[in-house]
Amino acid sequence: MADQPTNETVHTLTPAPPAASHAARISETPLPRKPKQDRAPEDDPGIWRMSRRNILWVGGWLAFFGFIVTSTIGALRYMFPRVLFEPPTKFKAGRPEDYVVGEVSEKFKDEKRVWIVREREGFYAIIAICTHLGCTPRWLPSDNKFKCPCHGSGFYKTGINFEGPAPRPLERAYVGIADDGQLEIDRSVKFLYEKGEWGKPGSFLEYKG
């Protein structure tokens, strides 16, 4: 284009002649490779056949990718702190005789996400996390079932799933008697029905009050 402003056409809807692309003018034949200058002797046996240049090449790339991989692992490990500030999972739940036979206690649902169920033979504790996607189900005493508001999974009072998308029963937590005679619950010790763990000690506390 000229340096002076031109006044040729003010019309704009005329097609422009196709401009030759720069790339097309550049040759695509590969450049000749430079001959290697310090090739190892042909009769050199074994590992020593590698020339100094080869070793530097391999070592250099090894160091490069080694660094990338280690950094990635380090960054990933960084996301897992050694100490977590989460509320303790073990807690005392009052005296066993305070619970009414046949009732599901919601006393610790808000704070610890655990229901404590008192049956005639004893106690069990159900973790109030839906096995489908982790919502908190509701206990509906009139229907005698747990119902999850997220996707409608339903569980019997025992925790067994019977409707909706939940793939497995609710989990039970450890329940025992502490030294001072109070109920003791540990949420971190879980008992899974589908693994046949509901019969194990701790999953059910025998208590005849």
């Binding site: 284009m1 402003p5 031109t6 006044n7 040729e8 056409t9 003010v10 704009t12 809807l13 422009a16 990933l76 996301m79 897992f80 702190p81 977590l84 989460e86 996607l133 982790g134 919502c135 997220c150």
Partner: protein
């Protein structure tokens, strides 16, 4: 008098150093307007006429970019009043909505623009599919576009948690709980337990910074939402726009009417 002053001003060195060409309506000046402007030189000097036809382009890609800019600006303004800790986040939201002049406007704009952006991204993709614009030579730019779609969804999703209200925490609980079930990487996914994964060492933990949605989650989502994801999205957007030009500008039927 004013015209004289204007003409005088246009002759000064300062003016000439900023605007390097006259504004007379000529072909050349129209071209220079694009080429000499750092923002406009994203565009070619000329485009096929159907590129200015809204019926063809729907304008959704451009609107998406505009919304991204709006979101960046309003987002930075919101950061003046927001602290990403469980203790303050909700209080700050109340403060912003009740006691900050134009606070609600900025927050509303941020939220509605975010919703609108997800919508325009989907419509943009729909249009590009329907006109077959992903076909050669634009295959790779479609892939970049899919990545940008995912980034848009992640940006929107991570922003969802920040108000720290019931809507936020449960939407994110439901959303991130799916990560528990990731095959091989989640503690409830197929083969997860067999590989020794627990709630405190699986892929969901990386997202949440804890075994459930809690204060560390808020911080992680905040950093992701404000720094990490926008940065990555920007990089991919640069590539996306650059590729539009390099792949031959806006898509269209093959040149020449003999092809049909």
């Amino acid at each position: 008098m004013l015209t004289q002053l204007r003409d005088q001003f246009r002759k000064t060195e300062v003016y000439k150093s900023i605007f390097r060409h006259s504004y007379q309506d000529t072909q050349r000046n129209r071209a220079l307007q694009i080429v000499d402007n750092v923002f406009l030189h994203l565009h070619p000097v000329r485009v096929p006429r159907h590129a200015t036809n809204l019926g063809y382009t729907w304008g959704m890609g451009g609107i998406t970019f505009l919304l991204f800019i709006v979101l960046t600006i309003t987002g930075v303004i919101l950061m003046f009043y927001y602290r990403p800790t469980a203790q303050y986040a909700y209080e700050d939201m109340k403060y912003l909505m009740n006691d900050v002049p134009f606070g609600p406007l900025i927050r509303n704009m941020h939220r509605w623009a975010a919703h609108a952006m997800v919508l325009t991204v989907m419509l943009h993709m729909f249009r590009v599919f329907l006109t077959g614009s992903y076909k050669p030579p634009r295959q790779f730019n479609w892939v970049i576009g899919v990545i940008l779609l995912v980034l848009t969804l992640l940006l929107s999703f991570s922003g969802y948690l920040l108000p720290w209200d019931q809507l936020a925490i449960w939407a994110v609980t439901v959303g991130t709980n799916m990560a528990r079930a990731t095959p091989l990487l989640g503690h409830e996914g197929p083969f997860g337990p067999e590989l020794g994964l627990r709630p405190d060492n699986d892929v969901r933990f990386v997202l949440l910074g804890g075994t459930e949605v809690g204060p560390p989650t808020l911080l992680r989502f905040y950093v992701g939402h404000c720094i990490f994801l926008p940065l990555i999205a920007t990089i991919f957007m640069i590539v996306h726009f650059w590729r539009v030009r390099k792949d031959g500008g806006i898509s269209g039927p093959p040149p020449g009417k003999n092809n049909f």
